[in-house]
Symmetry: C2
Subunit: 472 residues, 2 copies
Amino acid sequence: MGKPGVKESRSAPGRRTVIASLHDELRTRFGDRYSTAAAVRDHHGKDDSHHPVIPPDGVVFAESTGEVAFVVRVCARHGVPVIPFGAGTSIEGHVQAVRGGISIDMSGMNRVVAVRPDDLDATVEAGVTRLQLDRELRGTGLFFPVDPGADATLGGMAATGASGTTTVRYGTMRDNVISLTAVLASGEVVRTGGRARKSSAGYDLTNLLVGSEGTLGVITELTVRLHPVPEAMAAAVCSFPGLDEAVRTVVEAIHMGVPLARAELLDATAMHAVNFYSGFDYPEAPTVFFEFHGSEADVEAQGTMMQEISRELGGTAFQYARQQNERARLWKARHDAYPALLGLRPGCHGLTTDVCVPVSRLARCIAESEEDLKTASMPWGVVGHVGDGNFHAVFIIDPDSEAELAEAEAINERIVRRAVAMEGTCTGEHGIGLGKIGFLESEFGASGVAAMRAVKAALDPRGIMNPGKVVA
Amino acid sequence: MGKPGVKESRSAPGRRTVIASLHDELRTRFGDRYSTAAAVRDHHGKDDSHHPVIPPDGVVFAESTGEVAFVVRVCARHGVPVIPFGAGTSIEGHVQAVRGGISIDMSGMNRVVAVRPDDLDATVEAGVTRLQLDRELRGTGLFFPVDPGADATLGGMAATGASGTTTVRYGTMRDNVISLTAVLASGEVVRTGGRARKSSAGYDLTNLLVGSEGTLGVITELTVRLHPVPEAMAAAVCSFPGLDEAVRTVVEAIHMGVPLARAELLDATAMHAVNFYSGFDYPEAPTVFFEFHGSEADVEAQGTMMQEISRELGGTAFQYARQQNERARLWKARHDAYPALLGLRPGCHGLTTDVCVPVSRLARCIAESEEDLKTASMPWGVVGHVGDGNFHAVFIIDPDSEAELAEAEAINERIVRRAVAMEGTCTGEHGIGLGKIGFLESEFGASGVAAMRAVKAALDPRGIMNPGKVVA
């Protein structure tokens, strides 16, 4: 786990000549938009994870699908890797250039190509970020729901198969990408579909590329679903005697058809951290943050129902908020959770687990995992997207301590094995990257991984697309 | 279009010996559950489409994943095709044995393995039918929403990427299959995931198999999402001066966030047919059938809102029904549409188009298609899943007339070309089978079809999995 892949090709005979010729070709084509400066390369050789910097040989700042195709064709001809780079907010080591090669920075491909209110869809270039799209949609009465926290690019979110706090109601990237334009390993451009809401035509290339982390193609454009901004929104917070009660409350609500828009769990440590960080005085107990979307009457009814269900399961200190500023205040604790946890140990950084299990097993999975977590020598806290069965244990580790990294990774491994044994997954929303490659076979068996490898070999026979990730 | 694929391998030298040896092996293993009787082979060489019977060499009635794996291994060793068969209700020529081979009848794999109310999921064998699952779920407070009309098997519905009347609210098979067990061309069994509600682990084998029509593997078991039965349901019917107003009413409702559970369009001909067939006296004008799900207050509010929107767009004769028997009466016309259309010309059968376009283009697509349809020498009618942008023109053709078939296919081709030009798809829910192969490239381009072929070659290098379908 977490050890960068092979690098032998970097020192292979003739490699220097190949790279020099590649530099010439890319500099000629892109001028200033091709960089080999160390700082630029380092920036593109690292994401938001604990995985160390592994810089690419150069970085192209692309501005069109045609330019991406050009880079891929040149790299294919030289047999050199291509690594797409969005906002660099992934957290499993997705962008590290473990076999060198060219990073394609997509941030210049940030045009919103079209917003179509009548079709509830938008087409954007891959470098458009989530918050940028939010801004562009203001006044349309529509919004894009997938919220992974970071201001990631839409292309990166699709490539990672990201999701977030609203998934319980609006789904993941997979549910919200209608079709894609991508550059394949051959340099050919493929459009994976039109804009119809559904299709049963041919193999699902869209979903093959979503979650493929740049290993099957570079996503350059996406058509995504938009949703009507609800007439009304409300928020609520409730404390519970234990994790079990907190989780059961959410499961019960879903089962009763309450269309929760968000249901976020923070454990006692995370609540302690946010109290300390933001000066709140929430009970330091397992807490669920709710959000309700609908008509005025709907959100009122959902809030009442949620309060009743919570009370029956031992929930206390139920707070409900309708106005925008009250809602924002209530949710601030949730939004601050990650920096607040990091604040428990200044100068350190986070290592985050990401398992997802069937919801009926979530409480047990968290409870058993806490037994592992309690053995840790560093601080940790738990946050979870309860409605999806997904939770994150965040370890606050000393970046210079190999021992702490090893310790956190060992606990992560136990958490993953437990989740997979419960018919869950090693990663609900962060992807495989470098960090989770070792778990793939435990989840899909040898035959499943072999099928993935066969697909990879078919679409990228020379292995130049973000090599060393997903399937090593 | 519609011409069965190549059959040369049927008379290749040595083939008779191969088939004889295969017969022996399968008879030894399966006894009575292996049949080479002409009637059985004919039944398995035809679906509900106009495509002619092309019988397999034999039919295995499988009862377990292990048995399916055995058949695939034997066939792989002999280089003989394998064709999964569910209920035979597909309508694009999905099961015809264009290169001979063994049909695997899945109807004996009809166990509901588990229903898990806490997780809102169920695991079923591939031969479980939609109505069987409905029955098994009675009393659980849960239901499985995908309703393609026919009592198809869940495995067949997944393999086809089916959907139907409730898709506007609950999604397609793609949205409702959590994971699959399948037998690949090697005879290996793969499980494409656990039961977590979401995962970003590895390539999406689930969605690769959904819609692959048996060409990448035989689906033997599925874990599907269940949904809480709504507290209340209501129905409504409304007539419109034209298709444009009917479609715009639905689009407007979706845009305003009305969570329609069903919104089904019938054109004037279809309404004439159901009046004639079932003795109704509905206005013979474009008509939309609605269904609302939610709390008592929700469905009331949705009905009121729908009536207002309809009225603004010229809708008349709005009828609303809350009680189960009234709802059933109201919806009977919609349910009778297909037999009613066939009833316009006794002894004939249907050929059904299936394009799907962005909803903003649906009215124009239908209107322009009607100009083509009006040239037809046989009766036809239009029904549509308006909220999805999907409509079907049903031609009532004489089964013995090659000229009528050719005429209907020519019009279908014009409808498909128009839909694809509108960023739509040649098939919203019926799949490619034999009937739509010729359109795949117009929709995905040469690079898209090449990528699909590469995936097919990677997972089925000998081309034994339902050959001649999807990618020829």
